[in-house]
């Protein structure tokens, strides 16, 4: 791995640590998904390639926190799967956390687009 790739990987991990819960809530917004479906959805995004070992315990915690609900379903001859969806509390949390995310992103982008040496007047 090149030095640039190592740095990007380390930074991706840092970002994911702070945002994973928001990512899961956002992915489940308007969707009912089982674990593998959710994982494949996230893997479409370069910075959201989490492992099964991260996803499933997190879903378990979110269920205990009451922000997602889970239900086993079997479609036809397919194997039963555990489907997840947002609860009302999950929707409320998604709304408030995503607002803070938007604000944080705007603040950081502002800083990035206004390098020194001058001060910043917002």
């Amino acid at each position: 791995m090149t030095e640039k790739q190592t740095l990007e990987t380390k930074w991706d991990i840092q970002i994911r640590k702070g945002t994973l819960e928001l990512v899961i809530l956002a992915a489940l917004n308007g969707r009912v998904l089982y674990g593998l479906e959710l994982l494949n959805l996230l893997h479409q995004f370069e910075t959201l390639k989490i492992t099964e070992g991260t996803l499933y315990p997190l879903l378990d915690r979110l269920k205990r926190d009451g922000v997602v609900s889970a239900k086993w379903q079997q479609e036809g001859e397919a194997r039963p799967r555990k489907y997840y969806k947002l609860t009302d509390a999950g929707h409320a949390k998604l709304t408030s956390v995503s607002q803070r995310w938007q604000q944080a992103t705007a603040d950081i982008n502002h800083l990035l687009s206004h390098p020194g040496p001058d001060g910043i007047k917002k």
Partner: protein, 187 residues
């Protein structure tokens, strides 16, 4: 066949480490993970890809590590509900008392034992172990008039014994304080 055995071994190991959960919760975790594994295998077979069970299991990580994430809330304890802050303050106070009590007791015993060893070297006749009251009591330390207690029991063996015990006590105290400190920091 070998793949099934690998999966079975993994789930069996995971089940062992999930024992802190109640049976229903643990069964549900295992069922979900097993379902995922076989779904991935089906997906790979449909795409004509080579099935790599080891790779799939690597995504979950070692069973012990995976189970730790599931039982962390039990090990660490859920936070106290609001309004119970007084209990939290008492708990923290008790933990601090235990920490400092252990430190004072452990380090003072350890240092005393080491001091005893050096004292034995300096004044061997006044330092030792005596049996008193027909064997009903034991005197360990430095005395002014040793002759009234009869023969000293340990002799110069007291020096290495006290040194070793002293250092072991100091080491044990350090270890216990380290564990207590980590426990206090996690709360």
């Amino acid at each position: 066949m070998q793949e099934r055995q690998e999966i079975h071994n993994y789930l069996k190991s995971l089940a062992k480490y999930l024992s802190r959960l109640d049976q229903q919760e643990a069964d549900e975790v295992l069922r979900e993970i097993e379902s995922h594994i076989y779904d991935v295998i089906d997906m790979q077979e449909e795409k004509g890809q080579l099935v790599n069970v080891a790779e799939i299991l690597r995504g979950f990580g070692p069973p012990r590590q995976l189970a730790e994430h599931y039982v962390a809330h039990i090990v660490d304890g859920t936070p106290l509900p609001p309004g119970f802050s007084a209990m939290d303050i008492v708990k923290r106070g008790a933990s601090k008392s235990l920490y400092w009590g252990s430190a004072i007791l452990g380090y003072s015993v350890g240092v005393s034992l080491i001091f005893l060893a050096f004292a034995k070297l300096m004044v061997p006749n006044l330092v030792g172990i005596w049996s008193s009251a027909n064997g009903n009591s034991l005197i360990v330390g430095m005395v002014e008039h040793p002759y009234q207690y009869g023969n000293e029991l340990a002799g110069m063996w007291l020096v290495p014994a006290a040194l070793v015990l002293g250092f072991l006590t100091l080491r044990l105290t350090y270890g216990v304080l380290h564990v207590l400190k980590n426990s206090m920091q996690r709360k």
